[in-house]
Symmetry: C2
Subunit: 514 residues, 2 copies
């Protein structure tokens, strides 16, 4: 099943063929009524050129008040008394949100191409997920949460095999489950440190020395070794102490927090359009690879792993070519350093392949691939048995993931297969990219460095008035996010179709004209 | 509402009075039938001296095979192909588990006084939680998981106020939500570092310097400051890189993982029985306090906070007196160091008060209190507004907790109030402790250093043949856990009653006689 998902250009997978239902299950009656009346009031014309994956979606955004409207303002003020609302973007009413559309408290309904920071995969109130969420199996997973390492439930192997592991990246057949992207990365780092030290000790059967045991408890070497993880400038891998030490996106993410003295390599700063700067970009990637190799060889605390995002997301949607990543794989193999691909934001279909690193055609798979966000659960995949620590309780914690979220991911995978959503995302992305390219010719100052061609809907561009654009987008009924200092990043769901792309392009056109 | 829960010795709270139902809702019919027939086959006599909180529970353990039995062995082998099973204690069938009893795949049903490493609060398949888990609100929280910092749901303030915040420790009225105990602690540490640096800069309105901004991205001081968190020998605070740097429980938890060079202070090593060693123990606590104060003053990377468990749990169930914790609070105030109480394992009623630090009668509350496990959600409480970072997006991540688990904690709180479970735990704990004390007189070599008097059911003792005792316990129908090198730790649920205590005492008696 995994192989069927991996290549978006394949035909609809067998599972979907045997149960073809081209649309999502129906919306609840109340939502249908809501949107029927709302659509009549909507100022935006519907576009029905493609068969709808979510037939009961509103036909377009509905704008009834300024955003935030009066009810939202009241609610935000109330929430502010008990919760930090300074990063609040929009107070949502998820009961009224459906498919690609997010509703607020004032009756506004926005086309959502940010999708909870790229984490909603198959639509708000997706009926297939609703079935999974109301199953007896889910209820049991919620109320009888096990300590999975000690007392796993009898069907945990099934849940893994028919869910998380059914979409494991090529060459990786095992998983360690986690709670979110940040700890998924840290657990992968821990596996990498244990792997390196085991090699240094001479294998899995060599016992820890007394000096290691004793010094580990006082955080000193050799028990707590002077080793490191290498990451890249502008990379983002989370905000816990280990993951934050590899995050280099923005000072606001890191200020005042102690960090490990780990090395940071330059990430290619490509020039656009790519075809006009092929030679310069190739040289830039070579420069970054050379510096990476130098750091691996020379850094005072030797790196045991390199961690990289297929597209640097939080850091500004920075892309590199498959050749760069192939080069990284080569360097890591050459120096016996593990290659960790952080697919927390890129994974689960958004780039038009199930995993973004499928675009690279690597000779050998990454050593570990981390995931979260659209998976709605988290962890790291691996294939090499030696990455299992030599003793139990070394990679361990109380919950070790969450069966409830693993059950949800299984339903998400089924929905992706049933509706062929990776292919949909590849197709819609190509259509959207073309439209944006045309728009960038019309408004060259508004859309700079357009990027993400051939990467599904994982598209971004730079904007000299980015924050203003994001704000104005709400006024035309679209919820968009930014990344880095000046990038507009598109992160629609996998059910985003051409008609939604048309609405987005139309909305952007309005903003740029204003 | 918070105040009503805090003191276990109070009368039943108002909410519970208005809706008195002294027992849990009925078990599903299938489970009732299962246990009716199972009880008939059970070899252990029922004890019905106290009204049952879970009337449909089995009347005692049911042992049908060796543990693991043949079905469990098959299932473990199958799971082992995709998941690390070396730490597996027992493969569970949660569909057949109920109340205090955990079932396996071979029809064995054990009295569970380990409760998923102290994390199941109100019984397996608790009917009240079942209602919450099957509510439309829960389904929405599962399938529409928000990025809480950006797009909170409209009822998030309600969920917090009627749930997590309704049981906030005295003096703390705000919460930052997290996923599990380990990241809850790390988020508290981050808040502590930001707080200290803000003071050093001269207040919330002083901007970051250019040097801070730049150096933060390369993990160097001053942006990534040389500051620390002080923790205690044998303390356990989690296994991510920051929390693991404060964990000092066992080498196996820490080996091969780089750690911050942070200070560790001695934790009192008390002698039992306490009344025979009052003077020695007082001196020991004074010694530990003095060394803590010295480390705060002299450590090369100044501590910004002290983190401590009310009872060191993973590290071997090590207790200290309220005077010790009062002393810690005094020292931290004197040196402008924050006082973080890690209630991940002790919180939510297990010690016979809602929060274990309620036993200390502090003059001023802790600065932060972290929680997880029995709350089934996680985070840290705080009260001082200055602990909020001065800008948004400093304490932030995609999900920032999980409304589904917050809704579950609200149901847990309601169940605790409805059945007066903190008082129940205080009462049952006193009864159980007395029984254990009698048993320790009969078997002085089997039960050494009995501890936890007046601490609800949070009871432990040392055993020279601990692992054998834990193994034999399964044979007499009881699931028990250990902690540290040789402690037997009891962590029953809050619905543990005298009849269960009798079964436990009877089972221990059998083991000790063997």
């Amino acid at each position: 099943m995994a192989s069927l998902l991996r290549t978006a250009s394949r035909a609809r997978p067998a599972l979907a063929r045997s149960a073809v239902r081209p649309t999502a299950r129906s919306a609840p009656i109340a939502l249908q009524r809501h949107y029927a009346s709302a659509a009549a009031a909507s100022a935006v014309a519907p576009n029905n050129s493609t068969p709808a994956l979510f037939p009961d979606e509103p036909s377009g955004p509905i704008i009834r008040t300024e955003i935030p409207g009066p009810k939202s303002k009241d609610a935000v003020e109330r929430l502010g008394k008990v919760f930090d609302t300074r990063s609040l973007n929009m107070m949502a009413n998820y009961n009224q949100s459906y498919g690609n559309y997010i509703a607020d408290l004032d009756g506004n309904v926005l086309l959502d191409v940010y999708a909870q920071i790229a984490s909603i995969p198959v639509g708000y109130n997706n009926p297939t997920l609703q079935l999974a969420a109301t199953s007896p199996e889910m209820a049991s997973a919620i109320i009888n949460r096990p300590a999975l390492g000690n007392f796993p439930q009898h069907d945990w192997a099934d849940i893994l095999q028919t869910g998380i592991l059914s979409v494991a990246p090529k060459g990786l057949n095992q998983v360690f489950t986690a709670q979110a992207g940040s700890d998924a990365n840290e657990l992968a780092y821990k596996a990498a440190f244990m792997y390196r030290r085991q090699q240094e000790r001479g294998g899995a059967n060599v016992d820890f020395s007394e000096a290691e045991m004793t010094s580990s408890l006082t955080n000193q070497s050799p028990g707590a070794p002077d080793l490191s993880i290498l990451s890249f400038k502008k990379g983002f891998h989370g905000r816990l102490f280990g993951s934050l030490s590899t995050t280099r996106s923005k000072p606001i993410h890191k200020l005042d927090i102690p960090a490990f003295d780990w090395p940071v390599a330059p990430f290619p700063d490509l020039k656009y359009p790519l075809d006009q700067y092929a030679a310069e970009n190739q040289a830039e990637e070579q420069r970054c690879l050379a510096e990476t190799e130098r750091l691996i060889s020379e850094w005072h605390s030797p790196p045991v792993a390199v961690v990289v995002e297929p597209v640097q997301s939080e850091g500004g949607d920075n892309h590199a070519s498959p050749a760069f990543f192939q080069g990284l794989r080569d360097i890591t193999k050459k120096h016996n350093v593990l290659f960790i691909v952080d697919e927390v934001q890129t994974g689960v279909g958004a780039t038009g392949k199930f995993w973004a690193h499928d675009h690279w055609n690597l000779d050998t798979p990454p050593d570990m691939v981390t995931f979260s966000k659209k998976a709605q659960t988290a962890g790291y995949y691996f294939g090499n048995d030696d990455l299992k620590p030599n003793k139990p309780y070394r990679q361990f914690n109380t919950w070790m993931g969450d069966p409830a979220r693993a059950i949800l991911f299984r339903a998400i995978i089924q929905e992706i297969e049933r509706l062929d959503l990776v292919q949909n995302t590849a197709n819609t992305g190509a259509y959207l990219y073309d439209g944006l390219q045309r728009l960038s010719e019309q408004f060259p100052n508004e859309i700079q460095n357009l990027r993400g061609q051939g990467q599904g809907t994982f598209i971004a561009w730079d904007s000299p008035r980015r924050d203003e654009v994001l704000k104005k987008a709400k006024g035309v009924g679209i919820n968009i996010g930014g990344s880095g200092e000046r990038a507009v990043r598109l992160r629609p769901m996998l059910i985003f179709q051409q008609k939604h792309a048309d609405l987005l392009l139309e909305g952007l056109n309005k903003i740029f004209k204003s």
